[in-house]
């Protein structure tokens, strides 16, 4: 029912596609408005995360040894894997946008499903990491004990890290506060994004995007890449502090 030729004839203005909203004069105006609006929204998102990056900047300067020690408890293997997973999901999302533009319904559905799976994989690995923090008593407020930084235990096969003085060790709680706040907000954005992916998947299966009305997919693509880029900043700032030592 949604084949483009039929849709064109159904429209009251024969020169406009049926999905053009009545208050836009041309389709180009509608497309530009939607994409401009999305970029503005991403700007608000940058400011939203910006508050936490500011806090990070200040506390990292003040409590550098605590941030190094906190950072070294994170698993670099899991972090790197997650970075790879997320970048791949950005690739599959970009493929999805391309498929939508070239009206390949099958490719679009496949891309959305792959993006969903990769998003789930990211959140799965993230929850493993969160669980590890819980076990190690590194969750600020709820379950936190700084003593493991005063008397660090040696990992098998590696020498123990030098212990921190008690007051600096306690400041690792600030590091973990920021770790959970930043990765938590990032994960929340992923969860919202995956909700939207499922919504798009259902619509794509029903063929809602076959008529070229793909503004939603394009804008979602921007959102997904934005969430990805936030992680690209979070990963070195949280995982890779002073790894050469």
């Amino acid at each position: 029912m949604d084949s483009p030729t039929v849709a064109l004839h159904e429209s009251t203005h024969s020169e406009h596609p049926s999905y053009q909203r009545h208050h836009f004069v041309t389709m180009a105006q509608q497309r530009e408005s939607a994409s401009f609006g999305m970029w503005l929204f991403l700007l608000t998102e940058i400011m939203f995360f910006g508050g936490m990056f500011t806090a990070y900047l200040i506390y990292r300067n003040w409590y550098y040894p605590a941030f190094v020690a906190g950072s070294h408890t994170l698993s670099i293997v899991l972090g790197t894997t997650n970075t790879a997973v997320l970048i791949t999901s950005s690739f599959t999302m970009a493929m999805g946008v391309w498929c939508a533009e070239t009206r390949r319904r099958g490719g679009l559905i496949l891309s959305i499903i792959l993006t969903l799976i990769l998003g789930l994989a990211f959140l799965g690995i993230k929850s493993v990491e969160y669980h590890e923090k819980w076990v190690q008593h590194h969750v600020p407020g709820l379950r936190f004990d700084a003593m493991s930084f005063v008397h660090p235990k040696a990992e098998p096969g590696q020498p123990a890290e030098p212990g921190l003085p008690l007051d600096m060790a306690q400041h690792t709680e600030v590091y973990f506060s920021l770790y959970f706040a930043m990765t938590g907000m990032h994960a929340l954005h992923m969860i919202i994004g995956m909700g939207l992916l499922i919504f798009m998947l259902i619509k794509a299966i029903r063929g809602a995007y076959d008529n070229g009305n793909i503004t939603f997919i394009e804008n979602f693509g921007l959102y997904w890449h934005f969430v990805d880029i936030v992680w690209i900043f979070l990963f070195p700032l949280l995982y890779l502090i002073s790894r050469h030592q």
Partner: protein
């Protein structure tokens, strides 16, 4: 006294049968509408509701301060009352006041578009506002909150047992309503202008709302993340602002004021836009220095982001940053003064008439100037240390926000009332209301400058007896002010049924919104206009009228 009002012959005039109000009927046609004009009306009703709640709380504050002892209510009840007064008035009234009502209604028409770029997001913004407002009311009814509107940590996170979390989340939600309004305006102004409508043909109302929208889009998310961190600190105890864990409460202040200082420009800039329109219309002249006024709005928006620390001079920040922020604060005075001087020059040799919107605009110019100049006292770090946290600062921001913004809001409501409803308000009664408001306002808040200079601290239910005389003055003035606000509420509702038919252009104004029928059609324009005239071109308007006459003849 002369008047420019020209109304159609009342015996034959009718409200147009087809307009945005009659286009569809039923409650759902309002609750699910995408029409920017209907959403503006929904916003108008809701912000008026919250204004009267905030106003009732203000009345309680003034009643308590009638006597030196805390006798009307206990001290902690007083804390809750003034906190809720601030939260409701700032986040639920002042921030959305002009943009969400007049801006929503007018910006698409002024740029020559059929609607805002994203009608559904516009409606979503109203629902978010309602949810935020509802949560705030719930927080108030179920025990209140006594942090002050600033949510200061560690007071709000560690020492209070009131509804901080509910209120914080309420403001978070209401903040997104403001972000969506701003985003919608920016996209509309960039992408939806009619053919020929260049940036420098836009009415100054559009420019100032554009500047305010930039602040909404860039500032509000910082408040959002700050409130999220406060809520997380309070619920699970993360340590970002907690000094016992190494966090810093001053960081909270920086993040909070990074939004909340620009927020005062979010509140005042759209009001300045209203004043530009009104002053021009009632002095029959193009606004003097159009581009200077336009760019001063943008300059206020830009400078506004670099002055936040002047709220923190006594909080233990470095002396050197105090010096710099004090200097930057003085810079904001420049674009504000550009506006005031240009309005004054617009009046010079104009054919001035004194209809109600103009009276409110005069009130704005006087009171905003006093409010702005006393702001210089507070921006200079030396005097600030003496005056901050006293009634001087209370008087200062009430002069700017109530004397400035609320006057501008009422000016705009009266000015565009004929366009929104198709009917005139009663002129004599409303002129009386404008004068009563002005007198009541000065009675209420001028004594507070004196109280502040004498050293009466803000936010206490009790005060030493020697301050009583001035406080009685202030409370008496607040009663007059209350009458000044109730009057428009009553006669504007009355005018919906009994007001005179306004016709398309009762003020002989030049904006696009005055060239279409009142109330407008749902789609605003029968065909999208092609704009050739400059803003405030009264000769163009005369030529249009002559052409109409010859055509009809």
């Amino acid at each position: 006294m002369s008047s420019i009002v020209s109304l159609p012959d009342q015996t034959t005039a009718r409200i147009p049968k087809r307009n945005y109000l009659t286009n569809e009927n039923g409650i759902l046609s309002w609750l699910l509408t995408g029409d920017h004009k209907r959403i503006a009306i929904l916003y108008l009703i809701s912000i008026t509701f919250f204004f009267f709640i905030g106003g009732a709380l203000a009345a309680l504050i003034r009643l308590e301060l009638l006597t030196p002892q805390s006798d009307l209510m206990a001290a902690d009840t007083y804390n809750k009352v003034f906190s809720m007064h601030g939260i409701i008035m700032i986040f639920l009234f002042l921030v959305p006041s002009v943009p969400a009502t007049l801006g929503n209604f007018l910006i698409p028409i002024m740029v020559g578009a059929k609607d805002l770029a994203f009608p559904k997001i516009n409606l979503l913004s109203w629902y978010l506002y309602l949810i935020g407002g509802g949560m705030t009311l719930w927080a108030m009814i179920s025990g209140g909150v006594d942090t002050g509107w600033t949510f200061t940590v560690p007071l709000s996170t560690h020492y209070l047992n009131t509804n901080v979390v509910t209120t914080g989340l309420a403001i978070f939600v209401a903040g997104f309503s403001s972000i969506f309004t701003g985003l919608n305006f920016i996209v509309t102004i960039h992408r939806m202008r009619a053919p020929g409508m260049t940036w420098f043909k836009l009415p100054l109302f559009v420019w100032s709302n554009y500047a305010a929208s930039i602040l909404m889009v860039l500032g509000t998310p910082v408040l959002a993340i700050t409130l999220v961190l406060v809520v997380l600190e309070r619920t699970i105890g993360i340590g970002v602002f907690d000094p016992t864990k190494g966090g810093d409460p001053i960081l909270f202040q920086h993040l909070f004021w990074f939004y909340s200082h620009p927020a005062v420009y979010i509140m005042i800039l759209p009001g300045m836009g209203v004043i530009s329109e009104v002053i021009s219309t009632f002095s029959r002249k193009r606004v003097f220095g159009y581009s200077a006024v336009a760019f001063s709005s943008v300059a206020i928006a830009v400078f506004g982001f670099f002055v936040w620390e002047h709220h923190m001079f006594i909080m233990g920040v470095s002396n050197y940053s105090t010096l710099i922020f004090s200097l930057l604060t003085m810079l904001v005075a420049v674009p504000s003064a550009i506006k005031i001087f240009n309005w004054a020059f617009t009046l010079y040799k104009g054919s001035i008439t004194f209809e109600t919107p103009m009276l409110y605009a005069f009130g704005f110019m006087g009171l905003f100037t006093i409010g702005g100049l006393t702001g210089v006292f507070l921006g200079s770090s030396g005097t600030d240390i003496h005056l901050t946290e006293t009634y001087f600062i209370v008087a200062h921001f009430h002069f700017v926000m109530v004397g400035g913004m609320l006057m501008a809001f009422l000016s705009g409501i009266h000015f565009w009332w004929p366009k929104m409803t198709g009917r005139m308000y009663p002129e004599k009664l409303s002129q009386l209301a404008a004068v009563v408001t002005f007198i009541g306002f000065n009675f209420t808040f001028f004594p507070q400058f004196l109280l502040g200079m004498l050293g009466m601290p803000r936010r206490y239910a009790a005060y030493p007896p020697e301050f009583q005389v001035l406080n009685v003055f202030s409370t008496a003035g607040a009663t007059i002010l209350g009458v000044g606000y109730l009057l428009p509420m009553i006669y504007l509702v009355w005018s919906l049924k009994y007001g005179q038919i306004a016709g398309n252009n009762p003020w002989q104004a030049t904006g696009l919104e005055w060239q279409i029928q009142s109330p407008p059609l749902t789609e605003n324009f029968i065909e999208i206009p092609v704009v050739t005239q400059d803003a405030y071109d009264y000769e163009w308007l005369e030529r249009q009228k002559e052409r109409e006459v010859t055509q009809v003849g």
